[in-house]
């Protein structure tokens, strides 16, 4: 569906995309994950032919993407990171306007607009102007404007930024529903939980490069971390840290703000061994957590920094 090869985009001396590669298959929800400034929005801009790039190629639905390739553009729905709607038009008129940029038949458009309104749950706000909508409702309107014409490919650039949890869940459920209805989704975000929750395949970006790609399981298998065990305790002496570090599956031990964090490779019995050492050292402890690796761990291990740094 989307094929990007060796894409290079420079802003003066700054390299926004550095030989960036991407392949999105038909029918999947593809996640583009990376911290702010990693090049996600620039990649989307190049994909939509909004930005000129210095090198590389972008092919969508088998065709070279260009500013005047309206045949391909007709099949694409775009939801911008910043809400892009007319403050001067009502909810209905906004959706009708953007749908009208793709569908000229008035009767068909009326049906599509009504479907989009129902889909994002804005039935009670048809005549409301955007200024009177809350942040969450505004985001939903932004999505409705992008998907009303039922595109084959939907590109959503951080659609949940500054949205309350309730609206966020509704948006994420909506994206899955669009995918079930047959649309291929490209979803960019810096929220790893969202990407983990809905995406079938993921590319992690940093400094304009694709640093890892695959399903979430594949990505997690790429790293050493198999389990992160956190123990709530008031003290952690050097002797304890050394003993924990000497356990075979443990490769990193940290004590931060009353929490002992032990990272282990994939192996059984790590939790039992750690708790046994704590008992032997007479260290009192409270709650204990054992977590499988997250995409943040993937990012942390590959780049040496956390996704939210």
């Amino acid at each position: 569906m989307v094929q990007i090869e060796n894409l290079v985009k420079r802003y003066g001396d700054v390299i926004a995309l550095d030989h960036f590669n991407l392949q999105v298959r038909e029918g999947e929800i593809f996640g583009l994950l990376g911290p702010n400034g990693s090049g996600k929005t620039t990649a989307i801009g190049c994909m939509l032919a909004l930005l000129k790039f210095d090198r590389g190629s972008v092919r969508i639905m088998g065709e070279e993407m260009a500013p005047d390739n309206y045949r391909v553009k007709r099949q694409i729905g775009v939801v911008m990171q910043d809400v892009a709607v007319f403050e001067e038009l009502s909810v209905y008129d906004n959706i009708d306007y953007f749908c009208g940029l793709y569908v000229s038949d008035r009767k068909r458009r009326r049906e599509l607009v009504e479907d989009a309104i129902r889909f994002v749950g804005l039935e009670d706000y048809r005549k409301t102007y955007p200024k009177k909508l809350s942040g969450g409702l505004l985001r939903r309107l932004n999505i409705a404007c992008g998907i009303a014409h039922r595109p084959k490919l939907i590109i959503l650039d951080e659609p949940t930024v500054a949205v309350d949890p309730q609206s966020r869940n509704r948006i994420l459920e909506g994206i899955c529903e669009l995918n079930r209805q047959g649309s291929t989704i490209v979803y960019t975000s810096h929220y790893m939980e969202e990407v983990e929750q809905i995406c079938t395949r993921i590319t992690i970006m940093d400094h304009g490069r694709s640093i890892a790609s695959g399903t979430k399981e594949e990505l997690k298998r790429m790293i050493k971390t198999g389990e992160t065990i956190s123990v709530e305790t008031g003290m952690a002496e050097e002797r304890l840290m050394n003993r924990l570090g000497s356990l075979p599956p443990v490769f990193d031990v940290k004590y931060e703000e009353g929490m002992l964090v032990v990272r282990c490779t994939r192996s059984e019995g790590s939790l039992v061994s750690i708790l046994k050492i704590l008992q032997e050292e007479n260290i009192p402890f409270g709650r204990v957590y054992s977590e499988p690796p997250t995409l943040n761990d993937v990012f942390l291990e590959i780049t040496g920094k956390a996704l939210r740094d």
Partner: protein, 381 residues
């Protein structure tokens, strides 16, 4: 026609603003029309000034002078007392005091003596009455040289015919400027304000945030979007212009529709419409928010109106202001308007001037479009 329809919907949202500007425009036109209405050609008469006279001579020549001045001024015989004379001048009972000395004939008409006069400083009356006295003494001296006696001089001056004043009616409307000339004079205020505000508001909406990118990502080409936008702007402007012309026809009826300058008024106001569109496009591309838009529209609209002869007649503007105003299109609109008001029947030499003025307006519009295109290009890079 999605973009076209969006322009119309946003315009509809501003309909009350348009109505408000129309109301201000009609109010202003009617008000100024009332204030500046003239008396016309038939009512010409010389200026009358209250003149105080102290006659110390009492002879026939002095009487003759008093009668002569009394023909076009109001004569007040005052006491020969300095304090009383000062009081008369202070309270403006008189604006000019003439003291006719004893032996007026010998001293002033046959001799070279002058009259003792007092006038309110820096007034036109002083110069005006002084001219009349000089005229009387000059004529009287000529008669005296011809051997006329004092009585004969007074009689001759009394029977002298007044110069007849004939005013030529170049405009063909008897000196009265027809009502529609005021209407067209104030038209720039309406067209500039409404078109700049409404179109500026629409362009602002279309360039807000990421909307431009969102539109570029759509299936409608930028070329088509621009064409639809231009068509909508054209329709909105033409509709406003048509409302103005129709209203003028309704208010002034035959006097407007049968005016010899009708087509020139239409062409001139159409040129102004094109200029307003060009100004609106420039403003819409430069302005970032609606507060700034309303400020800039006021500065541009009112500024040009004050500077170029809309609210203050061009004849009353200082020469430096007029020179500066020539760099604004509204000046040329008013220039053509004034030519049409003054000339009434459009003669060959005036027609050339009218077309020059209209042509300059179109050139201004073209220049503004070029400047805006450069700005648009720079923004796109």
């Amino acid at each position: 026609m999605t973009v076209f329809k969006a322009y119309m919907k946003i315009t509809k949202k501003n309909i009350w603003l348009i109505v408000m500007y129309l109301a201000i425009f009609y109010g202003l036109t009617i008000m100024f029309q009332q204030f500046t209405a003239t008396d016309g050609l038939s009512d010409y008469r010389a200026e009358s000034v209250p003149v105080g006279i102290v006659d110390r001579d009492g002879g026939a020549a002095a009487e003759g002078l008093i009668d002569y001045l009394g023909r076009s001024n109001r004569i007040v015989l005052v006491e020969d007392d300095t304090e009383s004379l000062q009081e008369h001048l202070f309270y403006r009972d008189v604006e000019y005091i003439v003291r006719i000395p004893e032996n007026f004939m010998e001293r002033c008409i046959l001799g070279s003596g002058t009259l003792d006069v007092t006038a309110v400083p820096d007034t036109y009356a002083g110069y005006y009455i002084g001219q009349q006295i000089s005229s009387y003494i000059n004529f009287a001296s000529v008669y005296a040289a011809a051997g006329f006696t004092e009585k004969e001089i007074a009689k001759a001056m009394e029977t002298r015919e007044e110069a007849e004043v004939v005013l030529h009616d170049f405009s063909g409307n008897g000196g009265d400027a027809p009502g529609y000339t005021y209407y067209f004079r104030y038209l720039p205020f309406l067209l500039l304000s409404v078109i700049c505000y409404v179109l500026g508001y629409i362009l602002l909406a279309f360039h807000r945030g990421k909307l431009r990118d969102r539109m570029r990502a759509s299936a409608v080409s930028a070329h088509r979007q621009n064409l639809e936008g231009m068509a909508a702007a054209g329709v909105i402007s033409l509709a406003l212009w048509a409302v103005c012309i129709l209203t003028s026809a309704l208010i002034y009826g035959k006097s407007f529709l049968e005016s010899p300058g009708l087509y020139y008024y239409l062409l001139n106001s159409f040129a102004l419409l094109v200029v307003s569109l060009a100004v609106a496009w420039l403003i819409g591309m430069v302005v970032k928010d609606s507060n700034a838009l309303s400020g800039i529209v006021n500065v541009v609209g009112l500024g040009m109106c004050f500077l170029c002869g809309v609210f203050v007649e061009q004849d009353l503007l200082g020469s430096a202001v007029r020179r500066a105003a020539q760099f604004f299109p509204v000046y040329w609109y008013e220039y053509v308007n004034n030519l049409l008001t003054e000339s009434g029947k459009v003669l060959e030499n005036v027609r050339a001037e009218i077309f020059r003025g209209i042509g300059i307006q179109f050139l201004f519009a073209a220049a503004l479009v070029c400047v805006t295109m450069v700005i648009v290009k720079r923004k796109a890079v």
